[in-house]
């Protein structure tokens, strides 16, 4: 079997604050295979966006930095130790990124075509006409009708869904193998949301694109993902194939999230919630980060951090008191 396209090992991110260093991302590990869609799920502040920013080396502040771990691309280079100039080739060239709000993430004063050709011409030395042809082709691929006409349009002339398609086109301009999609459908209407998700699956199909999909919406995960990693308080608390996570989750937080889905729970007409608030950076609980909100928490949970255990080859869990029966077949 070929090595994973992307392999993240024990990736940690810390922020320097006046109260000392604080951990934003804590020893996060996962693998992304060719053509796989990995869902990164969690509440806001759980570290999912920060993990992805760390992968492409674009942390939002100079006070925030990677403190450990590795990000291996195609079994070869470790992105955390790459020179900035080599890292730039990775960004856009190997890993593309799209964001939640296409209106603010596209340059309002440059045409869509200009933003696509700019990337193409920077990464591949091609002439203007060739870049333009490729740009039209990409716009066509992301489902923009009449791309030869629309290529000179500005972002504000596109509708919300079209803008998200345009942003995907900009991100895919240089044929990256990996696409990081940070809440790509959150700001969109439900109908448009479905179209964008279909487009992503389509692109995975045609280009064998690997996608990391950041979302807080388990509905989205259920529709498109192959693998799911659930993050809480900067750590991955459970990771496994979608089917197992949705139907047979063991971490109390995961089951809590699933119960929160309006259609997922058995209590009709009443949406369940998880009591309490997610931790903020200043007040990370000791032991298991979830224990103050967990119904199954014991003294042990407050004292020692649960180890991340692969109890099956593809299913990782970090919990002292897992819910349900665990088939420990994979445990060494």
């Amino acid at each position: 079997m070929s090595p994973p396209v992307l392999s993240v090992r024990d990736l940690s991110v810390i922020a320097k604050t006046d109260q000392g260093p604080q951990t934003l991302v804590d020893r996060v590990s996962f693998e992304l295979n060719r053509g796989e869609i990995l869902g990164l799920v969690g509440e806001s502040g759980s570290g999912k966006s920060m993990t992805c920013r760390a992968i492409i080396g674009l942390l939002p502040s100079s006070r925030i930095s990677i403190s450990g771990g590795s990000v291996i691309l195609r079994g070869k280079s470790d992105l955390t130790h790459l020179e900035e100039s080599d890292m730039r080739k990775v960004r856009g060239g190997d890993i593309g990124m799209i964001f939640q709000n296409p209106s603010s993430h596209l340059d309002p004063v440059m045409s869509i075509g200009g933003q696509i050709t700019e990337s193409i011409r920077y990464h591949h030395q091609v002439n203007r006409a060739e870049a333009r042809n490729r740009a039209i082709e990409i716009l066509h691929q992301v489902g923009i009708s009449d791309p030869a006409q629309r290529i000179d349009d500005y972002p504000h002339e596109f509708s919300g869904g079209m803008r998200q398609r345009a942003m995907i086109a900009v991100a895919l301009a240089c044929n990256p193998e990996i696409l990081i999609a940070d809440e790509p459908t959150t700001a969109l209407d439900v109908t448009v949301q479905a179209q964008i998700l279909r487009l992503l699956m389509d692109l995975r199909e045609k280009r064998e694109l690997s996608i990391i999909l950041i979302t807080h919406d388990l509905g989205v995960v259920a529709q498109v993902c192959d693998t799911v990693a659930v993050m809480y308080g900067g750590r991955i608390c459970e990771r496994g194939p979608k089917r197992e996570i949705i139907l047979d989750a063991h971490h109390p937080y995961t089951t809590g999230l699933i119960d929160c889905q309006p259609s997922g729970g058995s209590h009709r007409g009443l949406v369940k919630t998880i009591a309490g608030q997610p931790p903020s950076q200043g007040s990370m609980p000791t032991g298991c980060a979830f224990h103050p909100r967990c119904a199954h928490a014991t003294k042990e949970c407050a004292q020692t951090e649960p180890a991340a255990v692969d109890y099956q080859p593809n299913h990782m869990l970090a919990c002292h008191h897992p819910i349900g029966e665990i088939n420990e077949g994979g445990r060494a």
Partner: protein
């Protein structure tokens, strides 16, 4: 994205707080200092600012005359100290009238809208397109040189900026939830406007008035420099610069010190505006 923004906000707070407090303190200190100088001018000034001593004409800075003397033998330091009275007054009155007129006009235009707003906005366009020094010079020539004419001119030209600021604030605020709530409680328009909206709208204008004071101060000095403002022998910084210009080759100190005084006073206002703007979160 949400996380990065919240993290930035959290780490940014202290920084922002600090970056507002430092200029505020410096600004207040400078202005307070000048205010004390102006109040205690008779005590602080070593000499009479208009006393001419033929024996010490055009003397460079020395122990007896730290800022030197001018071509009439007057002590430049004493004139700078007494000048603080006039120039602080210029900055204050030059702003106050414009502020009051502009705020009133802007509130009316912003609150009532419609044709009132249309007419006032066109009037503002006209004044804005008018080279204001032309307006000021002609008004001063019509009314005769002096500070009174200058204040009238500043009020007639300066109200425009305040009117625009307040109007823009009102347009946003009058549709805000709390204004609608106030009207639904049965308060009169006047009450809603001046009791509920104005206090919210006026913060930006107050911050702006501090930076406006800089412009007014410079204009006042420029008008006096052109010979249309404060008349000799009264000690005023702009007039002093004009008087010293002819002696620049043999007495640099006569023009240099009053100019530095203007720069320092202007910095006080600018710093105060910066600090206030930063702390109150008002964008200029």
């Amino acid at each position: 994205m949400n996380i990065s923004r919240s993290v930035n906000a959290r780490f940014g707070w202290r920084l922002k707080f600090n970056s507002g407090v430092v200029p505020l303190i410096i600004g207040i200190s400078i202005l307070g200092g000048w205010l004390l100088v102006a109040i205690f001018a008779p005590l602080l000034a070593p000499y009479d600012p208009i006393f001419q001593d033929a024996a010490v004409r055009l003397k460079p800075p020395s122990m007896a005359h730290p800022f030197g003397t001018d071509n009439f033998g007057r002590d430049v330091l004493s004139r700078v100290i007494w000048g603080a009275r006039i120039d602080l007054q210029i900055a204050t009155f030059g702003v106050v009238f414009a502020f009051v007129i502009g705020t009133t006009v802007g509130s009316i235009a912003g609150y009532y809208g419609g044709w009132v707003d249309m007419v006032l906005m066109r009037l503002i366009d006209v004044v804005l397109a008018f080279p204001f020094l032309v307006l000021m010079l002609t008004i001063i020539v019509i009314l005769g040189p002096g500070l009174g004419s200058f204040y009238v001119a500043m009020a007639l030209v300066g109200w425009v900026s305040y009117a625009r600021l307040i109007r823009a604030q009102f347009l946003v605020l009058k549709n805000s939830d709390f204004a609608i709530a106030a009207v639904s409680l049965g308060y009169s328009h006047k009450r809603v406007m001046f009791r509920h909206l104005l206090p919210n709208a006026i913060l930006g204008s107050i911050v702006f008035s501090m930076s406006d004071a800089v412009l007014v101060l410079l204009n006042g000095a420029a008008i006096s420099y052109l010979g249309l403002g404060v008349q000799p022998p009264t000690a005023e910084w702009g007039t002093m610069i004009a008087e010293g210009q002819g002696f620049i080759t043999i007495g640099w100190w006569i023009t240099t010190f009053p100019g530095l005084a203007i720069v320092l006073l202007a910095m006080g206002f600018s710093m105060l505006a910066d600090g206030l703007g930063e702390i109150l979160g008002v964008r200029q």
